[in-house]
Symmetry: D2
Subunit: 293 residues, 4 copies
């Protein structure tokens, strides 16, 4: 069990009264990711609602802000009890046996146009043995061909843009890996959160985007950008792609500053400090399916 | 109350053993669309499963077929009790009050890239009075600018392609209308089904795609292609866009013939024959929200 | 006759030895645009070549720079003797009579995808009376629908992007107008230069992009962005689109600063100072075709 | 010296009087491709003009047709005296020494968006030794990744589409190879013609598209689709991409049938029959530059 303590501060300048915000900045509730304690402070005295989506565990904070500064402070301590499995023992789930609620994750979405990548995926990955290893091969293919670079992509960039431009940030790596998994008929989803253990070379800590892939046992973690240790990821939200799980969706004229984020490993309930580390095992933090990750 | 009787026959030639099919060809179950009787016949002796998605009411038929001909016959009698409302009394739901499960329908999706159309939508519809009338204006804008034409668009075509090419089929009209609604922060979804009352000029009856828009009271029907009478639509599936609700998703090498579809109005339980007609009222067949359409 | 005096200063930091530059920053030579005097100063002692393209009159300065600062100063006095004609008397040239060297300007190019806009152009402009007035209608259509805005478009943006995003800079206005002209079978080309008389609200003076359209009599000037007085335009280069006439094409690792540009009207050889002004007449500065603009 | 005899028959049904046609179906005139004899027969009694573009040697047949059938028959005997060179002795021309009239072929064009492929080209080919071998490597990269397939691409398809879809016809192979050459700062152009020696597996003989690349000595032939013997290519036209050199550009409502094309090797003036064959040498049929191919 790993206990991580995270804090984040968001700052906005609201120029239009009644601007609406939908945040997805709460650590998700899953069987294997337990929020031990948390606090939320908002500088404006406005009504707040926090809803939990029953299917994904995503939590949405919604508020309507007055003009002037809006500041959000969130802190949480989160216990992660990863499901771990040996990669070579994890098989793919045949399409015929995919649960209905997972089917949506093999279809194309806004930034993951898998419908245009079937031939490419077949050519590159079609002959590989099915299973976790094939997904790892997709992840490595993306990691090798795409260069981490800011200022190449923007919020409209999609998996196809990334394939062409061969550069992007974590969001772009994730979109391309997801599109290639789906083009191979393997369900994949976009996940956001905060990650422990990022190389400071990547600049100030920011929200992170990574990938979860559905194989026998449940949804497994992959970080195609290679910027994080998968074991150190705290999940906020999952969705079809970045369109579904922006950390902030804003309706109104609002200026914003970069978020200020911190995360550290702390001692757990048993007094032991366990650090996230890079492991060979497949990891999952999803606890919705019985007897599974 | 309207009772419609529909039948459809699908024919495939399966060239790869174990090809998997996911069909969405069953009339959906909603409070206001009741399936009175139905039958499904498949020529191959293979296991069939039919699942109902609890959130949408979509029903999915899944099977794995042997090589050779595969034929699916489906017939159903469906009772429609539309919720009807006066257009001028239907308001938009402010973003701040949208239910969490509706939020996904204001985000962009594969074929509805609303994220690139905010300025266009603001320019064209931003000054209009909010409410059903504004949605009707979006529907009319699409209907006026896009020409119904086969062989211009294909399965990769998106709302942006349709805006540029100014031509397409019902699927393309629906995608563009949805994208413009979402760009105006109005939730909209893609709906498929069979429609009664199509002008024979459009050729043999085919599956139809139309739009449902979320306003106060629930999801209202719009047919931007203008090829159908909204009152005559029998719903099969709803989703973010065509990526979610193909009538058939096929995994394997399979040839296909055009579907053969029929629909007629018949006498209901009370012995009365009521024909769908074009009405000025707003219509909804969605019955999931209490005291609403 | 109008005499304009312009100066421009370009500053680069060359990080890779032997970086190659191709500049198109010399005022073009045409019968109606005469360069009275000019000077070119380059801070580095490197060989310079200036070539004139015989078909377009574009002049290309080429050099290979050493590492360190590279500074280019160019000044010129240019006499403009516009061909002027009454708009209502200018007809279109039927495709069958277009000169061979003009044909290339009805074909699509990198940023002007006229091949995808035929139906839109036919719908919007197909019923209009042919002639200068129809081109003016295309120009006005673009000017009305597109908003001048920096930071929306970038160097990859095309006419289709601008149509969708409905915002851009002078380059984007020009590309969209050109694409719509070509989709209407009217030859149009992309022209760059410096313009006298820009509203200071648009920020520091920069290179300008506008449109020349081929009609009976030759190539006529249009400024769809509305930021300039067409009579005050000094032409540097013309081409199919921005791909052909970048003011600087750089091969190597080079940093750059914004150009510093000035232009003013001065007294001509006859001692008279004539100011460019907004006129109703059609204008042309192209002098390649006998007895024509 | 190789002598090839070709014939082609084009059939149209003209539905709109005065429909205009621009054909590029005449064998080009170059120093190394000499048209020994030719004939052109058109079934309609309409004025014909044939113009030769002085820069490219392309010949354009223009006519305005009456309603009803339009049939064009063209036959020619062409002598090819290829310039041949050893691949390992052919260097690239540094950008700084590219002739002005060649510069346009390093810029992006409608279907060859080299501006988006710089990073990909640098990654794949940036470390290779410059020269003919590098261009051959680009050609082979395209040939290996793209599958020849009809009905995947259409007339709007570009190099980027082909890179994504990984399938297409000769036109698509050519566009992708051109884009990658230009992204590597190597001038490349699109060439059309008829090719001797096509494997009948590709179906009835059709117009062919291939690539010419500018290296020391001139423009060298490459056939990335691998469907033809480069030595058997008879050139009709060259341009930036398919936008410039359609074999027929039609203005008006016109139906068309597939062309009927034949080509054979025949005895030359010396009575010798020389067959085109696959050779290791670099080939060029361009004779515009003194002492060069």
């Amino acid at each position: 069990m790993i206990r991580l303590r995270l804090s984040l501060a968001l700052s906005y300048e609201v120029n239009e009264p009644g601007s609406n915000f939908i945040f997805n900045i709460h650590a998700a509730h899953t069987n294997r990711q337990v929020v031990v304690d948390e606090s939320l402070v908002v500088n404006q005295q406005v009504p707040l609602t926090v809803e939990t989506d029953p299917t994904t565990g995503n939590r949405y904070l919604r508020l309507s802000a007055a003009t002037g500064p809006l500041q959000i402070f969130y802190t949480a301590s989160v216990d992660l009890t990863h499901y771990m499995a040996a990669p070579e023992q994890i098989a793919e789930v045949p399409v015929a046996r995919l649960p209905a609620q997972v089917l949506g994750y093999i279809y194309p979405s806004r930034y993951c146009q898998s419908d245009r990548l079937y031939r490419l995926a077949m050519r590159e990955f079609g002959q590989r043995q099915q299973g976790y290893g094939r997904v790892q091969a997709i992840r490595d293919w993306v990691a090798q061909r795409i260069t981490y670079a800011k200022n190449i992509s923007d919020s409209n960039s999609s998996a196809i843009d990334t394939l062409i431009e061969t550069a992007g940030v974590c969001r772009d790596f994730a979109h391309l890996m997801i599109a290639l998994c789906r083009a191979s008929n393997i369900p994949a989803r976009f996940t956001t959160g905060i990650n422990y253990g990022v190389d400071p070379a990547y600049g100030p800590l920011d929200f992170h985007a990574y990938v979860e892939v559905y194989l026998v046992g449940g949804w497994y973690l992959f970080d195609p950008s290679g910027t994080a240790i998968p074991m150190g990821l705290v999940r906020f939200g999952t969705g079809r792609d970045a369109a579904d799980v922006a950390f902030a969706t804003i309706f109104g004229e609002v200026g914003s500053s970069p978020p200020v984020i911190n995360i550290e490993a702390i001692a757990g309930a048993d007094g032991l400090l366990v650090m996230p580390q890079l492991v060979r095992s497949a990891l999952s933090t999803d606890g919705q399916h019985q007897g599974s990750p």
